[in-house]
């Protein structure tokens, strides 16, 4: 029901949506599309040739990426297509993260758009000429620093979402599987305001955060509080959140389609600080995330409400007995957690200049990993865990194919549970 309401809100401005996309393929009954957005951390990559072919039908068609990095090819029928990026057309500043992942095979059907994204990295050593140099696995200090910076960026944004997840777990005991969709919501709302409504970007992000927080309030009023009143078990609550997650992610896909949407009206410039080169929105996102995280820490540490929140995490029965209004605090935690997740989604969308229906879906397990790593239910643990996970995820691409970067983080999660189940900051007595 919540999903429907949100879709309704967004749907008002639906029609003008796709006008800003620079590509020219519209899926209809006879044709389908294969397309995507080519970008690396410095922004979109223009002028790269991508060829879509299918041996059986002797079909071959090429496209060149536009100024905003988008490309698309119309295809005649349902088949498995080979999508190949011509590495010689890549500019000197971009390189494939893993040459083995090119070409890509993609099943495409008529009447739908399929997305193929190539993983591009910033080529930090353009002087050596051939773009293949970055894929051979030579780890230079420059690349090390660059990936570390990317890791901190991802870790800070991840922390915004993970702290909320941890607060919800701490106060209600529930593992909220729909928290990933809260991140997606923030990103997509930013897209709606910034691109569809042409609002200034700062205002767009603010509006996205406010609406995200409102969705948390709505959820607690409409779903979670009634279920708490009925004393529904934690396992059931978790499954309800899984259902909500499914409903929301498909609602996003229903409304926004399967492709990645740009959230910035124009291409952002990059800045270099020493060997590190990131897009300007990335720096801004990192700054915002840091400020907000410090704010949350101060709130938990210094304010009465913050201390009450921590008291509930420690011992709900005792907190209730000492006169804390547990229900009110939990309501506040939901608003705060979804607001933070929305901000995380908005900042993620800015940093990558892209929002998609599965943005948060990919992030959810990393949030769990971060929260578990730091210690379930401890907000500071979630922060530290997020930074570690972020750095590990990005740095792993120095040695492993980037398609495995999330797998590495999840492997760490499992190993942590093996060795230190209570996490870094968790207390041993709570487990078992």
């Amino acid at each position: 029901m919540l999903a429907a309401a949100l879709v309704g809100v967004i749907g008002l401005q639906a029609e003008s949506a796709s006008a800003t996309a620079a590509v020219t393929c519209v899926a209809d009954a006879e044709t389908g599309c294969i397309g995507g957005t080519l970008q690396n951390t410095a922004g979109p990559v223009e002028g790269v040739t991508i060829t879509v072919s299918n041996e059986d039908d002797e079909f071959e068609e090429s496209a060149t990426t536009a100024a905003n990095g988008t490309w698309a090819v119309a295809i005649p029928g349902r088949a498995r297509y080979t999508v190949e990026l011509d590495e010689s057309t890549l500019p000197s500043t971009a390189a494939l993260a893993d040459s083995a992942e090119n070409p890509v095979e993609q099943l495409a059907v008529v009447g739908a758009s399929s997305t193929v994204d190539f993983n591009l990295v910033l080529d930090a050593t353009p002087s050596t000429g051939g773009s293949s140099s970055t894929t051979t696995g030579t780890v230079t200090p420059t690349r090390l620093l660059q990936q570390f910076a990317l890791g901190i960026r991802y870790g800070l944004i991840l922390a915004l979402a993970a702290v909320g997840l941890s607060l919800i777990y701490g106060t209600t005991g529930m593992s909220s599987f729909s928290h990933g969709e809260q991140v997606t919501l923030g990103a997509l709302l930013t897209f709606v305001f910034s691109i569809q409504l042409h609002w200034p970007i700062v205002l767009s992000v603010l509006a996205a955060v406010v609406l995200s927080a409102a969705s948390g309030w709505l959820q607690d009023v409409g779903i979670w509080q009634p279920l708490r009143r009925r004393r529904v078990g934690l396992v059931q609550l978790m499954i309800v959140s899984i259902g909500l997650s499914l409903a929301l992610q498909y609602a996003f896909q229903f409304r926004f389609g399967g492709s990645t949407l740009q959230v910035l009206p124009s291409i952002a410039k990059s800045w270099s600080i020493g060997p590190i080169r990131l897009s300007i929105p990335s720096y801004i996102a990192m700054g915002c995330a840091t400020i907000v995280l410090v704010g949350v820490a101060l709130f938990l540490q210094r304010t009465r409400t913050g201390r009450a929140t921590r008291a509930i995490s420690d011992n709900p029965a005792l907190a209730a007995a000492s006169g804390i209004d547990v229900d009110k605090i939990i309501r506040l935690v939901w608003i705060l957690a979804t607001g933070l997740a929305g901000l995380g989604g908005a900042l993620l969308a800015l940093a990558f200049n892209g929002a998609a229906w599965d943005l948060g879906l990919q992030m959810l397990l990393l949030m769990f990993a971060a929260v578990t790593l730091g210690g379930l239910g401890t907000a500071y643990g979630a922060l530290i865990g997020s930074l570690i996970i972020g750095v590990v995820v990005e740095m792993s691409t120095l040695w492993l194919p980037s398609s495995l970067k999330f797998a590495v983080a999840l492997l760490i999660l499992i190993l942590v549970l093996l060795i230190r189940p209570q996490g870094i900051l968790g207390r041993a007595e709570r487990v078992g």
Partner: protein, 327 residues
């Protein structure tokens, strides 16, 4: 709208290999969650591991029986690897570990690192591994029509696959019936209710949980083999959504019941096909074709929520034996 088309399409789902595969996976999940209280959130991972093990062996030229055994064996090993560290910990740790491990398998499967075996994100087409299986068929070549069901006999999506798949489902139901009416099943149910109580009565709770995890995982492994038989091993088709669909099926039919997973799977796929077909015919002006799948997904999500909130015992479950808090 063409009513006979609608009827045959939806009726077809009733006995489709996919329905059987999901039913078998849900039977496995029922052993985990319904009878033992284990929160396995990675059932699709067990299926994918089984499917890869099977397809890799069959691709290498081995016969179906050995390949299927290898597939199931892979799932068993997967269960042991996941169970050894987590079954001594609190229940939600198993949930997080299984969902993560399933995701790791999918990510590795679709990446380029093992593409000799997995063929990356493109997946392994069925033609590379189902020849021996179809060769075992006792049916003559050709087509058979039974009422609304008309299929070729010996193709991946044909009668032979259906017969084997549903035979496996029946066998699994029989096995669950035998086990759950035995003292062994009684211990599992005891663990579901309260681990410490069972421990205090001298049972090795860890051992029983491991046996349950392995058995349900093995069933999922074979379900994976059945699932890929008609089409291909597609890692992205066997991700988290699949796990959650299996959960919906189990809760739809009723956890801890004998036939719940089977009936749940039938209802699930018939309803889904019915809704999609009707929507496609009735709402072409409102819906774009690529919006059909997401719409079905939204409905599944909402169904799952409503089921857990209002009918935790499932459509046919016993009200008295409804799923309470398993923590």
């Amino acid at each position: 709208m063409n009513w006979s088309d609608l009827l045959s399409l939806t009726a077809g789902e009733l006995i489709a290999p996919t329905t059987a595969a999901y039913a078998l996976a849900a039977i496995g999940l029922n052993i985990h969650f319904g009878f033992t209280g284990l929160l396995n959130m990675g059932q699709a991972g067990f299926m994918l591991v089984g499917a890869y093990g099977f397809a890799a062996t069959a691709q290498a030229g081995q016969g179906f029986p050995l390949s299927a055994l290898v597939g199931v064996g892979c799932s068993v090993v997967f269960a042991l690897i996941l169970g050894i560290p987590t079954l001594k910990l609190r229940g939600d740790y198993l949930a997080i570990v299984t969902i993560s491990a399933a995701e790791i398998v999918r990510l590795i499967g679709r990446s380029s690192v093992l593409s000799d075996i997995t063929n990356g994100a493109a997946g392994i087409p069925a033609s590379r591994f189902n020849k021996d299986f179809l060769g075992l068929s006792v049916l003559p070549d050709g087509r058979t029509a039974l009422g609304p069901f008309a299929y070729a006999n010996n193709v991946g999506d044909g009668w032979w696959t259906r017969i084997v798949a549903w035979a496996a489902v029946l066998l699994a139901v029989l096995l669950v019936w035998r086990l759950m009416s035995s003292p062994w099943g009684r211990v599992l149910k005891g663990i579901r209710e309260d681990e410490d109580a069972v421990r205090s009565l001298g049972k090795s709770v860890y051992g029983y949980k491991m046996q349950a995890l392995v058995l349900g995982g093995a069933m999922a492994g074979f379900a994976g083999v059945l699932f890929v038989m008609p089409a291909s091993v597609q890692p992205d088709a066997m991700g988290r959504s699949m796990t959650f669909f299996i959960w919906t099926i189990l809760l739809l039919g009723g956890a801890a019941t004998l036939w719940g997973p089977v009936i749940g799977s039938m209802i699930f796929f018939v309803a889904l096909m019915f809704i999609k077909t009707v929507m496609r015919d009735v709402l072409p002006s409102v819906l774009r074709p690529e919006q059909l799948e997401p719409l079905a997904g939204i409905l599944v999500g909402i169904t799952l929520m409503l089921l857990v909130i209002f009918r935790p015992q499932g459509i046919f479950g016993d009200k008295k034996e409804l799923m309470l808090d398993v923590r």
